[in-house]
Symmetry: C2
Subunit: 191 residues, 2 copies
Amino acid sequence: MSIQSRRERERAERHQLIVTAARELAEAEGWDAVTTRRLAARIEYSQPVLYSHFRGKEAIMKAAALEGIGELAERLRAARQGEPDPAAAMRAFAAGYVEFATRQPALYAAMFTLTSDLSFGTADSPDTLRAAFAEFTATVRPFARPGVDLETLAETFWAALHGLVALDGSHRLRPGRTADRLTLLVDRFLC
Amino acid sequence: MSIQSRRERERAERHQLIVTAARELAEAEGWDAVTTRRLAARIEYSQPVLYSHFRGKEAIMKAAALEGIGELAERLRAARQGEPDPAAAMRAFAAGYVEFATRQPALYAAMFTLTSDLSFGTADSPDTLRAAFAEFTATVRPFARPGVDLETLAETFWAALHGLVALDGSHRLRPGRTADRLTLLVDRFLC
DNA sequence: ATTCTGAATCTAGCAATGCTAGGATCGGGG
DNA sequence: CCCCGATCCTAGCATTGCTAGATTCAGAAT
């Protein structure tokens, strides 16, 4: 009992160690630099150990992405609940989203541009993803109009934010105007 | 003279052949399937020939992306000019954008999610990119309000469209509601 | 205390990738 | 008819993700 539980605990710790190391390495040098060899060296184990925890590199990225979505949801909830006024809440919400993505671009990429499955608002999603999407619907609800589906509005708002983050992060928009674009976008969803 | 020009012509044809083959292969099986070996086999040349035309695989993708941006610009211009009313033009424009991305997802990915450089509205862009971005500013101009920068508005509109396309294309939004989201988004930029 | 057992871990290797060096080949010019 | 230079291919490199087999080591049983 005791010995087996210790092993399970060590295993869980190493699982987390892998994900954390992958995130750090990706944030420092990009996901291309996260090779299984470098990752194994970083956690001071041999390569095959990774495969006793994850099916492969993609699974590691997916685990990191899921972790990131959980953290994003918490961040968004704090931003939303920090402002009593719905409009102010939405502004804080959007700013929080952009800041999260800007501060951890590699993690954000794993969450929404590199990983292919890992949905968000679909029905068969894990709880973490559902909860994250719920932050969007909650933020957007005060501005829903009759005849418009609430989830459709939330999806659209999310997509618009994601577009800003994605294009800005790949330097496709003029630098230094991120805030302008964000306020412009949010205003469009407020009116 | 004649002989050299023939060689240059053949070279240009092969250049185009490579890009076309890459696009076809990518559209059929994704960019991961576009290996230099398969691509070389497809154009019935050996691998190193690719490197006498392009610096590497990334350069080939970039060439395909640039070609795609040119085609997108033409598509957008047609959609925009096909409708005299500014609002209708914007709707057609947005629908054209989404349709282009949906019909050629791999090409779109090369244009705006995989390739990292290749900007669009920045000052030092090639003419093709500038022209494409100009389609956005032209479409959005009738709805610009005093105090809002026109290019900022265009960038934001583009980003929002891109977000819809990107998330929808990776199955992160509920299927079958693409049109709803699009009209909702465009309405926000019309009012 | 010693041997057995099974899990945990590593070494070594595979096929596939992007890319390159070197030689072969082939056509045009002398 | 021969040479020369551009063109093209064969062969190979290092690196990638991933896996099979051997090895080691901790705990159990005698």
